[in-house]
Symmetry: C2
């Protein structure tokens, strides 16, 4: 049945123009209608593609000490996080040649804008759009220098980005916040994924969608999130109508960045099916929600899709265009390099973790966490953040779930406890038995993503007594994170979605081994920690390789490229760390998990204060 | 009706032997039976009494710069706390002449005994009995020196003590823990009030009392506490039967200390009606619970009152005897000084705060807090820790309520937050608006005393989000303490017990003015902070004056003595601080209090994990 549906979907989209892209991916779609087009799109990726020998033998040759073609050609992954961007250069065998991180000059704008002294509301989290290109330029140049590589060796560029981080621009792509008119207007600035200003708007959108029984609602577990695209648009429409009015384009920051790289007019904005599918209620089959729905939400929103969301939809790994002159100067790479459509940072972690097959839960652990899974079937699982056909990899249903505060929450608690680093806390928390001495935590300090999809919920610590120290509350928070994960896995399995393997990636697994041990113990499952510390960046680089196309890379399918470049079993001497569950802790954790669920129920029920 | 009852009670007790003690106090009672006796008691207080002019004019004369008799004669209050003892010398006008604090050498024994390396269980909190006399000797000597006073000027000694801190001794008063046989047996050591080892025993005592519908249960709000006398006795009987067997005497530490001062054999141990009434289910009318009850609890406990609790019962302010030679040398005062029966530290705070009248809630704020109130009527208020006829002052019903962790909890949180002192926390918490930014705390880190009387409950923090800092959780804890107090006041008033005035005393009100402001704002009431920082010690000194008798002091009643020596409106230039409620915070606190009660309900209900 899924196959049939997929064939049907494919029949509705325009096939890629280039012979090199033969694998089944969602094609080009008119962003406004969700229907196929293509006549206006002039793909120029071939201009930048370079032919290359078959990379499959690369590993073997390398073992013999010889440099192969696959090792000479490089891909660039750009991984835009909350505080910084990471650039990663890899060769086609997946070997990491160099990477560099460049912080955003303005970081997160949570206190005030650079243009005014007025304090921002507590829920606000904004960014400065100039930081993205500035920091990318620094990181790319440093990476090329450290790798002693020539920019001409770069075969393709992939971009992943936090989401839904979004902004309004004029028709030329200039962010409204960089215009004189709107520089001091907070709603004109890019809203970071974690911006929580749209509480009322989210409630209203959910309520109207439920009342109208919108068919797309089930794909998101019955609830759409506070951090998503349209709540943020509606917040601006209601709070700063002049900004909404002046915006020719509303778009994801990842799409904006790719647009900056490849150029073109607004009608050709390369929008990612990943971002659109997970954060903007878009699907390949139905496009965006209907005009009637938007009108029911707000009269002035009725034509938002037609008027404010121009562009074409491309799956991650599809070529969005090639590097244009202006961007070429800014990031220090030659023009003509193919650039992939953007993807969400977490979703890039799936190919980055070498997970090409269904049933592997890829846990991308950082500031927050995303747990992603491909499956052959679409199942409506209540509470799942989103199911998008081909949203992660072509040909599979991508399930996205997540936890809203992970590294962020650990760091918040560390600061709260007056600890300079995690050394003391980790040492003493690790020495405690399972159950944190009776301290029970629910880690909703940034709301609950899966399964309640409610950014207004709060965290709690219970079971506190005078005998407890900082190590107890820290351990309780780590355990809470594990219990939140266990809840998600139980939901997926109960909903008929197989979960067979667990791969951890992102920065946290490498810096916090205690966390991964607790995850394994609480799940009662083995967890493989992917050896790359740059999972999403590696995934982005792989998408750049896919964008470069078969003729340039020799890879015949995404699966082949992923396996060659990101095998989780170990690449180039870096071996995956396999963390087994300690069965002796099973019953202690079962008891503690029960308490966590009781506390979570209370916090989402009678103790829900907003 | 109350008058009639009181007259009836008086008719059952032996009247004091000395003509000087004319005010109605509970008389001498056989400890074992609760019935009057007297023939065996040779009161020798008169030997130490010295005649003195009428002290009522003292204040006036002092204003004229002349030293009166009332200013020449002194009283000593000894206030035994959890970590130290305070000695306070005052004259009969209430002027504080000097005070000194001496820490206990061994502090609280919570980790291990001084005699073994074995770790104590987590619930254990013990003390070293030698510390009490050693520290008292140091403090008294320092006080005499600082006051440049002659010990001969001391007219009477009063003693208050934490309760129920208790111990087993042999018939001569030697603590069993100081014998070779039991030095390494943890159950032979004095159990501090906060020792929480008797959870099961408390449950059983409560269950059996309820089943048997014991009439005394209603006096304690229907529940007896984990920290009380008989749970601790039963814990020893069950955990260390040899200790129970070897003990000739079980008694409160305060009673033990007074016994050490005045000497005499075990049958004459001066036991306080205050400790017995609030912590050992004793009443003037009915004595201790019946043999049948104790037998139902444990066969070997049947005769505990007859065999292990010898002595006579005396109200605080009654003369227990005079200072004997051995103790005289140890504390550095001449023999023959009258010594009052002991009282509980918190209860000493009532006369110490000048509260002689019914309807004034005296809040003694320290490590934990006791809120005490005298009333003309006995009302069975559910959840009240205890109502004892004449338990605080003669002729009134003394209501005791309390919160188990106050200063203790603040200090615990300060350490948890890695703060060296309270400076930063206080400054930043004070700057926050009412409601602590949505953080809701329940301060049961040492269990809940009033109204749930359950030492196994735990504290919690809810409403946590990434925007919160240490100042939010600290303020939330202060507010939780205020909400717990508001709950108590509402209970008393709903139960028909008038609460008209609020007086704060103890160390905390002077060190933590923010706390008192929050208390006033949350209650919506004016709070008077008594100028003495040594409220209980002053109260103890007043009890010493009462013990010295009318002939020596000229005071005709306890009320007269209390008013002369501890007027809350200000004595000797120290003025009471009057803290008014800020009405603008009323609705914010009403909302926060509602959340606190919801969280408390959940913690005592479905989130009750033990």
């Amino acid at each position: 049945m899924r196959r049939a549906l997929y064939t049907f979907l494919l029949s509705r989209v325009v096939q890629p123009q280039r012979a090199t892209q033969r694998w089944p991916v969602a094609g080009l779609l008119d962003a406004a209608t969700g229907r196929g087009h293509g006549q206006r799109v002039a793909l120029t990726c071939l201009a930048g593609a370079r032919t290359l020998g078959n990379p499959r033998g690369g590993q073997k040759f390398h073992a013999a000490g010889r440099t192969t073609m696959a090792e000479k050609k490089l891909a660039l992954g750009l991984d835009f996080g909350t505080e910084s961007v990471r650039a990663l250069l890899v060769d086609l065998t997946g070997r990491e040649r160099a990477s560099a991180v460049a912080k955003y000059r303005h970081g997160q704008l949570t206190d005030r804008l650079p243009t005014t002294n007025k304090k921002l509301p507590a829920a606000f989290a904004l960014q400065h759009p100039a930081d993205w290109m500035d920091s990318a330029g620094k990181a790319v140049r440093r990476t090329l220098r450290d790798a002693r590589a020539d920019g001409a060796a770069v075969l393709g560029i992939g971009v992943d980005f936090t989401s839904c981080t979004m902004l309004p621009t004029d028709r030329h792509g200039t962010p409204l916040c960089l215009t004189r008119q709107f520089a001091r207007q907070m709603h004109a600035w890019p809203k970071l994924w974690k911006h929580h200003g749209a509480v009322e708007q989210t409630d209203r959108i959910n309520e109207i969608a439920r009342r109208r029984r919108e068919s797309w609602l089930h794909r998101y577990g019955g609830v759409i999130g506070l951090e998503w695209f349209f709540p943020k648009v509606l917040e601006t429409l209601e709070s700063a109508p002049a900004v909404y009015e002046a915006a020719d384009v509303w778009l994801e920051a990842g799409d904006w960045f790719v647009w900056q790289l490849v150029g073109g007019d607004a009608a050709q904005i390369p929008r990612s099916t990943c971002q659109a599918g997970y954060k903007a209620m878009w699907s390949g089959k139905d496009g965006y929600p209907s005009r009637a729905f938007f009108k029911a939400v707000h009269a002035d929103l009725a034509d938002v899709v037609r008027d404010k969301i121009p562009g074409r939809l491309l799956a991650p790994g599809q070529c969005a265009g090639t590097l244009q002159a202006t961007a070429s100067r800014k990031i220090g790479l030659p023009t003509g390099i193919p650039v992939s459509a953007a993807t969400i940072d977490a979703h890039a972690g799936v190919p980055g973790a070498g997970a090409a097959e269904p049933g592997t839960l890829v846990m991308v652990l950082g500031t927050s966490s995303c747990h992603m899974l491909n499956a052959r079937e679409e199942q409506p699982v209540p509470g799942i953040a989103g199911v998008v056909d081909g949203g992660i990899l072509p040909g599979l249903f991508g399930y996205e779930t997540g936890q809203a505060a992970v590294g962020d929450a650990f760091d918040w608690l560390r600061r709260m406890l007056g600890q300079r680093d995690f050394g003391w806390l980790t040492e003493h928390a690790a020495a405690l038995p399972a159950g944190a001495g009776g301290v029970v935590c629910v880690d909703w300090m940034n709301g609950c993503r899966t399964p309640l999809m409610d950014g207004t919920l709060h965290g709690a610590m219970a079971g506190l007594s005078l005998g407890h120290g900082p190590e107890h509350v820290y351990r309780a928070l780590l355990e809470a994170s594990a219990f939140g994960l266990r809840w998600i896995v139980e939901l997926l399995r109960e909903g008929g979605v197989p979960v067979r393997r667990f791969v951890a990636t992102g920065g946290l697994p490498h810096h916090n081994p205690l966390l991964i041990q607790i995850y394994a113990d609480v799940l009662g499952e083995t967890i493989t920690v992917h050896p790359s510390e740059q999972g999403p960046a590696l995934g982005a680089a792989i998408l750049g390789v896919l964008a470069a196309g078969r003729a340039a890379t020799g890879f015949r399918s995404p699966t082949q490229a992923i396996r060659a470049m990101a095998a989780a079993t170990g690449t180039h001497g870096k071996r995956a760390r396999v963390v087994n569950a300690d069965r002796s802790k099973r019953s202690a954790y079962a008891k503690a998990y029960h308490r966590y669920r009781q506390l979570a129920d209370a916090l989402a029920g009678e103790l829900r204060w907003t």
